[in-house]
């Protein structure tokens, strides 16, 4: 499906672009820690340690005013003392309000974000691409219907539609056994991983229209190509033409869109978990919502670290998206491809 020319463009664009290389490095890093989380994380991300709560990240010393009251000779005396909290090398990114290790939580949060981002995108593409191809290929009523429906769904902001659907359907999640822990490795790590099922379905439902629109546009321009006409003249049936000739030639812009969608869905997932509409408590957005309560008392890292993690992941994916777009630019390549 990928021609030599496309491959050459990708390679030369990659060689000349620092940003493309940075993007690949960032995404590989996030994918690596997400997959091997039980080995990479220094602690179990759910283990609480109240004696070690609110510890700052390495290099930061936090001073805090603590007020205690005690009874002295029948009178209440309030004593305010300044407490210095030093970082602990065991918790490089500090700990949250319950003493859970932030680095480990950030690492496990990568799993949630990536799984929702990738599965949500795959779901949206699986629904959207066939519908778009069929609408663009046959035109007429199917096409009109699809475009009107697309207009209507675009009128709902994806975040609003997503929280409305989750509000109506409830938030179901599935606990999946962690394969590494099940195989006997890293026994101190969580044995199961919570997959936010409803969230994945909802982000797919909310985003399929983008794939349908782009697939439709491609099918519209491809249906009148000589080779498609030739295939039709040779008696190939429509299903075969769409799958064998139209789809392969429409795949480039779909891949570019898919990349951008993974980033968009990661941001959407974090918004949903921030608002409490996820099904998991091990996610960057959820940690930011927890950390929000500590902002006024100065423990910025509890909300800060997961936010930086989101930025790293999304910047990486967007850089790859830019690289693919520059290398595969559908505008320039036109009908080329296979």
């Amino acid at each position: 499906m990928v021609s030599d020319r496309v491959r050459r463009n990708l390679a030369s664009e990659f060689r000349s672009s620092v940003l493309a290389k940075l993007g690949v490095v960032l995404v590989l890093l996030v994918v690596f820690v997400a997959i091997f989380a039980p080995f990479v994380a220094p602690h179990n991300p759910t283990t609480q340690d109240l004696d070690n709560a609110e510890r700052p990240p390495l290099g930061i010393v936090q001073t805090e005013e603590r007020t205690t009251s005690e009874m002295v000779d029948g009178e209440v005396q309030t004593v305010t003392e300044t407490v210095t909290i030093r970082p602990d090398a065991a918790h490089p990114l500090g700990t949250d309000g319950l003493g859970r290790d932030m680095l480990s939580r950030v690492i496990y949060g990568a799993r949630t974000s990536l799984i929702v981002g990738v599965l949500g995108t795959v779901l949206a593409a699986t629904v959207g691409v066939p519908i778009g191809l069929i609408a663009g290929y046959y035109r007429g009523r199917i096409d009109d219907g699809l475009m009107r429906f697309a207009d209507v769904s675009l009128a709902f902001p994806s975040l609003v539609l997503a929280i409305a659907l989750i509000g109506l359907w409830g938030r179901a999640s599935v606990a999946v056994p962690d394969p590494f822990v099940a195989a006997g490795f890293a026994q101190e790590m969580p044995a199961t991983f919570v997959l936010p099922g409803t969230v994945i379905v909802v982000v797919g439902v909310v985003n399929w229209v983008w794939f349908a629109r782009i697939a439709r546009g491609e099918a519209l321009s491809l249906r009148d190509q000589e080779y498609v006409k030739a295939a039709r003249a040779l008696g190939a049936d429509d299903g075969r033409i769409i799958a064998g000739h139209v789809l392969p030639n429409a795949i480039t812009p779909i891949i570019v869109l898919g990349t951008v969608q993974v980033a968009a869905i990661i941001l959407l997932e974090s918004s949903l978990s921030f608002l409490g509409f996820s099904g998991t408590t091990l996610s960057w957005g959820f940690d930011i919502s927890q950390g929000r309560d500590y902002v006024s008392s100065g423990q910025w890292w509890i909300a800060g670290m997961p936010g930086l993690a989101i930025m790293v992941a999304v910047i990486g994916i967007n850089l790859i998206g830019d690289w693919l777009r520059d290398a595969l630019d559908p505008g320039i390549q036109g009908e080329g491809g296979a």
Binding site: D151, V152, S153, P157, L159, L267, V295, W300, I310, M311
Partner: protein, 330 residues
Amino acid sequence: MSQGRFIAKRVLQGVGVVWGVVSIVFLLRFITPGSAINAVAPLDADRETRQAIARELGLNQPLHVQYGDYLVSLLQGDMGFSYVRGQEVTTLVFSKLPATVELAVAATVVAIGLSIPLGVVSATRRNQPVDWLATLFSLAGISTPNFWLGIMLILVLAVQLGIFQTSGRAVAAVEVAAAVVGPASFVKTLRLWLAHITLPAVALGTYFTALVTRLTRSGMLDELGKPYVRAARAKGLPEAVVRYKHALRNTLIPVITVLGLQLGTLIGGAVITEAVFSWPGLGTLVIRSINLRDWPVLQGSLIVIGTSFVLVNILVDVVYSSLDPRVVND
């Protein structure tokens, strides 16, 4: 096609889309596990109570009758009553709408005010430090969750430095305008308004600033390479005229369309920004109505949000058609 007919056609299409929005919102209630009765009835309600509630809400009618009733009352501006507050949904939604519109407009003003100059400078000084900075900023801007940015802004500029307020909305923009002629101190009102709206507007506007910077930069680079720019330079036009009168004008046309289409993202972003800053708008209302299972309020809010999207996009098309008369003939 004349521009008048073009606008008429767009309005008609818009009516169709709004009808679709209303129909989907109506149907949402029926894909809910647990009907509307559960939201209203006491937990220990017996069969008769439940039937009485169903009668009162019209839920015992066939679907098409309910749908017809719903459309008729919508046309009369009646979106039903809140299950929880017993207030009219229309009143409730429209009392929250101005705050959200104000926030969205402020964010758009921030975004347009920063992004277009930044994009132009970036394109005209390509591969210079200022271009690199703008590229980096716009990359970070489209990759940062706005709610997180909001929290970090609160941390630094409100909690630590105390320049802005952490949450809430003290005065409306209208009150600031009224203070110009009214008895209230204008400067005081303006400062109070700015202290509350600046951070949420920046948090919400950053994504759009970044997006439009990218669009303006690449659009300008595109336009500056075109033959008409070379021709304009060749006939000795000052560089400023070439850049701003010719190239920038053509760059802005697609930017306007994108801004219209991104309005959904802006409203979605406003929902979460409102949650961060306790901004008393439509977003706060949507989240509360979902948490309280107050479906009529949710439905009303969705209809108002969907309709605003359609209205703004018609407006965008009208502006677009006067900037670029070619679209009228498409």
